[in-house]
Symmetry: C2
């Protein structure tokens, strides 16, 4: 028996039971992508060198997973300081323990040059308008159907996301649904701009055409007002798949917001659900994922105990300082990789693979 590099960060007993159910099994990975104009508000997102380019980040992440390189942009998505997308972690995990992978288009402006599921989603508006999404219910319903199909031949599902600006829309959606999310959502930046996010979120909630009560009782109204397009798609797939198989929701506070939506739409599905994330999220002092998840229910959090501190590459060791932290399901797919390989692959093997990919991709970028 190998040591497995997983931190049971919340509801440890349920978390260990959940891990046992996945032990040695091969999941299917799905990544839900979307774009929201919210990402272009200055100071909101570091998921792109400049705000305008964040539209390309989700498509580029999908291409990275399918081809090992991006097609719609040169190089790979980077933060303004040049740190590469967490998709590099996801890609490395998928190379170490290959599983079927699917992209799901919740609503993007830039579509990946790769196959993807369409669930009738459209890109999201700036949530400050209070009219963020056109028809989240239709997207949710299509995604429930999709989740049920994905459940039929698969032992379990890992579902991640890529959407710039997503923690701000997560905060707004949590607030709209009556959760206390203030100061709790994480950030891809080292200095979490909580006040900017709260201001944007509250402006959106106050401009919503729905009452607080309507949004509290119907998550689709909360999404219509202040959600992002990733959310109804991810929530629907989780709700549909978790009717019959375990689902590891791979992400940080954005996925916690999706979990809250699932609770409102299909509470019975939650018994098959856990959150899978990174050490950098559960140890982050500028956010509080446990504080969000505890409001939803007794849900386990499994965090991949990744450690990039020994890396010679500044773009990786800086993860230990709190930059990027999570995304593209990096934490959850690391957790499932550790479990699938029964611990043979752990944090050390992951760092080795990530470093190889980092060197390769940085060489492409310099060309």
């Amino acid at each position: 028996m190998f040591k497995v590099d997983i931190i049971y960060a919340l509801e440890e007993q349920a978390g260990r039971q959940f891990a046992e159910r996945l032990w040695g099994k091969r999941p299917t990975y799905a990544v839900v992508i979307g774009n929201t104009e919210t990402a272009k508000i200055p100071g909101v997102s570091a998921a792109g060198a400049v705000p305008e380019i964040t539209d390309f980040t989700p498509a580029a992440d999908v291409e990275l997973l399918f081809y090992g390189r991006c097609k719609c942009i040169d190089g790979v998505p980077v933060t303004p300081t040049g740190v590469p997308t967490p998709g590099i972690i996801t890609m490395s995990a998928l190379q170490l323990a290959p599983v079927p992978q699917y992209a799901i288009n919740g609503g993007v402006r830039v579509r990946p040059h790769a196959p993807f599921f369409d669930v009738e989603g459209t890109p999201g508006e700036d949530i400050r308008t209070g009219r963020a999404l056109k028809d989240p219910r239709r997207v949710y319903e299509n995604s429930v159907i999709l989740g049920r199909e994905l459940a039929k031949n698969n032992s379990y599902l890992v579902i991640g996301e890529s959407i710039a600006g997503g923690t701000t829309t997560a905060l707004a959606t949590l607030l709209a649904m009556g959760y206390d999310g203030e100061g709790k959502v994480s950030s891809s930046m080292i200095d979490n701009p909580h006040s900017v996010k709260t201001e944007i979120a509250l402006e959106g909630v106050s401009n919503s055409p729905f009452s607080q009560e309507e949004m509290r009782t119907d998550p689709m109204k909360a999404l219509q007002a202040v959600g992002d397009p990733m959310m109804p798609a991810a929530a629907g797939v989780v709700a549909g798949a978790a009717e019959t198989i375990p689902v590891l929701m791979a992400g940080g506070t954005q996925m916690a917001a999706v979990m809250a939506i699932v609770k409102g739409m299909s509470p019975g599905s939650l018994s098959n659900v856990a959150l899978g994330t990174t050490k950098w999220i559960v140890q982050d002092r500028s956010s509080d994922i446990r504080g969000i998840v505890e409001q939803i229910g007794k849900m386990p959090i499994l965090a991949a105990d990744l450690d990039f501190s020994a890396s010679v590459h500044d773009g990786l060791s800086i993860y230990e300082k709190g930059l990027v932290k999570e995304g593209v399901g990096a934490g959850g797919i690391s957790v499932s990789t550790f479990l699938q390989t029964q611990g043979r692959i752990g944090a050390q093997e992951m760092l080795g693979a990530v470093e190889l990919n980092y060197v390769r991709l940085m060489a492409i970028m310099r060309k």
Copy 2:
């Protein structure tokens, strides 16, 4: 051991070996949809009450499979004389032996209200222009990737199609690739309008910007000139999946044309491929599917020995007169249902289920 209602219509020994590999196993079903303006040429297609409505037929077929009823049209797709889509057979088989099902959008004008894979396809032009498809190579390449993902967690794949006008484009594509298809493609009508089809196909081939030699050596050029959007998507998925798992190509002469494309693009994949169709196709005197497939290689044909002659419903018993014959993978999915259930479900059980669905759907239409 039950009797299995399968006719080994070509390469019997290879066909029986293929069936043994699928015996008792649960496949995944994929249906590739597309629209071509060719379907609107008078006299070409019976996959819709009037030519203009054929744009809706593929989306409606997908909805029928997912919901047991259509959403984008009232009732179900019918021929001009009111005979319902063969999707009713596919739906019935999937109800008797449920399997994961996915729609793949090769390029449609009307998108289904259901989840589907997007492979960057666009609707096809009238093939008489010689410029039918915009970028079949990109669609093919995306679909190869998709086929490989679908192969990862599945024992085998059944792939069907729904596109009105598809036998005419199949003929044109076969001719462009140097196959002798004249008088050999089937029709959804009782009187097969061979002369109309040949005229259209030859006009398209002669207007192609590519030489006969270019189209013969590169199936993507043949498709760009006179193909339909179902073809590059279906061919890519078959080529990608059949690298590792068996693929039952579910359809008539249209799928035979797709098989010819696979041979040109990825000949090694053909060792994992068989054609699955209906008795009405292999016994059809107005077409010659064996005559097409024999030109491609030693490929087995397995035909579901369905028998609707005992049906009290004119809309079903008329199948025995040669109307409709095949579509939406009806024959192939019937074959896989017989094999999956090890013969417990056969032609008789299929007719029972089809009749129940027929009565239910006709009742909806009359409302």
